[in-house]
Amino acid sequence: MKRLLIGSTMVAALCAGTVSANESVIRDTANPNQWSIQTGDYANTRYSELKEINRHNVKRLAPAWTFSTGVLRGHEGSPLVIGDIMYVHTPFPNIVYALDLNNDGAIIWKYEPKQDPDVIPVMCCDTVNRGVAHANGMIFLHQADTTIVALDAKSGEVKWTAVNGDPTKGETNTATVLPVKDKIIVGISGGEFGVQGSVTAYNMETGEREWRAYSVGTDEEILVDPEKTTHLGKPVGKDSSINTWEGDQWKIGGGTTWGWYSYDPELDLFYYGTGNPSTWNPAQRPGDNRWTMTIMARDPDDGMAKWFYQMTPHDEWDYDGINEMILTDQKIDGEERKLLTHFDRNGLGYTLDRDTGELLVAEKYDPVVNWTTGVDMDPDSETYGRPTVVAEYSTEQNGEDVNSTGICPAALGTKDQQPAAYSPKTELFYVPTNHVCMDYEPFRVSYTAGQPYVGATLAMYPAPDSHGGMGNFIAWDNIKGEIVWSLPEKFSVWSGALATAGDVVFYGTLEGHLKAVDAKTGEELYKFKTPSGIIGNVMTYKHNGKQYVGILSGIGGWAGIGLAAGLTNPNDGLGAVGGYAALSNYTALGGQLTVFALPD
């Protein structure tokens, strides 16, 4: 299916008779020997056709070489491999290394930007960075301070820089960029600082800004056509965003865009999700708070929105909608469909038609999810597409200064940004998840530019009456909306998965294990303890005829903050069994790359 998609796109590109800049990305991602963008391919499947390492021989896997990044903080994202060069990035200060795979990983060039350290504390939850992207012979880095840098892939020379935001107002960046056509599309962080979220396109060759689409704002700001842009099949109408806010709250209304981006070359649409409305105290922002918590489909040429789907209207739990949108072509009831699958922080796994935005499936991908009884799937209903909120767990209905207890999932979501993988061979999604619940008490806060703007107190703990662990690694059927198998984990699984044609699925754990499991059954086939906890994403490549698997270790990120000292359920009383499973008893800081291969 993937080949078909690529084939027809190549034809389309040839017919157009022009050299479009995304051709390099399409060519590079079609070559399984390389890993040229963070998501593996435009469809965000994180699937590799390589199969030298397979479910029969993966038990013999062993470390082949390692590399210390020299940085201690949380290491998210993954290295890239283009040709004979590997590109490794780090958290703040956002160093990029080019390593020579023909010369034992020797450093060809190193780029270290100078950034004001004042950006560090403005980054909520560690100074992570989810990696660089490659297109047109350039490496694109989006720094913590929102500076975007284009580097010559061969020499490391700076080709251009652009500045996307203002850290003194809380605007920062943790995400990778999407190179598409002749543009670089970038997002922004700062939902806990009252930032008005946006995506922005820069010219790939010059760094000039071409368009910006806000998540919340006037129709001109959010780039919609009130008559043509749809929500669940109906035009969004005039002032669709600001109509759903009271007063000027939308100007500090969040909806940041720090997750992953996917792109469909045939439909010529790119997809991403928007984050939480700001503040976390829902009483301070009456209304649906559109278009926060929304899946967006936009045209990369001008940013114009084709369709939206708001998953969590008027968020009451900080369930950011930024997780990846995975694009697949699959049959439903015998009919070939262009699908988009998304595992939201709110605990629901969504399957949509990515052409029209039609909602097909919305089911819980962790059975403990309790804030909703489910989504209204009746197109004729007034509440079509809305989740039914359970009053007991509604921090809005319980009100300010009331502690709502036992809400599942916790604010970090049933899944955070750590991306899932999809294998077209099994038609299953492999999803790293959190199994954590929370108490949530909202209260009034005041806004100061550049200062945290949170407005709720949270206590998190392992899901009660379950296996006691804080995570699961699951296989998901996106057509039936069902879990196929589920592996309990002691800690949240905060590592992006990789699926391969060798019928092996890889992921990392917070204790630091790289694990390989059988794609069909979930049976554990291999594990190796790397030097630090893993919040990075597994990647694979082939060099000199041999398949390698690479993973960044380096504990940190929100997982390192929330779980370092362990969690316990305050409602269990003293001496609760299984409480305080402290991550700090298993791992310590330190960034390094470990590359695995089958021994000769």
């Binding site: 560090i120 209260f443 945290p452 949170v454 709720a456 390192g560 903050i561 305050p570």
Partner: protein, 181 residues
Amino acid sequence: MTTITRLACRLGLVIPFVLSTASFADEKKAEDEAPDNIAVSYEEDGKYFTEDDIPTYNISDDGAVDWYTFSGFRRYHSECHVCHGPDGEGSSYAPALKNSALDMDYYDFVDVVVNGRKHVDASANSVMPSFGTNKNVMCYLDDIYVYLKGRGTEEVARGRPAKKEKKSAMYKEAENACMDG
């Protein structure tokens, strides 16, 4: 600056001399003579102080924490815990403030929260921001401080305090004046 002035007024601060001339040789002696930074000496409208007029926590015989400590729990988990981890326990990113509240002098603690501090070199990039203009922190600085001291001695357990004293009329008045001012 107005916030800090107001804070100082609210606390009725009298800045005492801090003697720090003790050498290693007489460290033990200095420790013996160090003022008790924990024990409650007196109470004013639900706020507890040591004999040196430093805010401190109080736990009554039935296990109820004073309102400031409870409020500190709430504000800590809104403003501080995204870097410093739950319950003042520290994280992979930032130090355990339950220890800082014991190790640091009250005035130094306030100074770091108001002005921030940096430790950036080849091996570290720790930056505490300045919260001097942030009312959500400044109006509750003593609350957060006494909560963390209670966490440091472990007299205040992890998690949400189960029992608490009522919010006093004076507290309400001061809170409104600070947040609206």
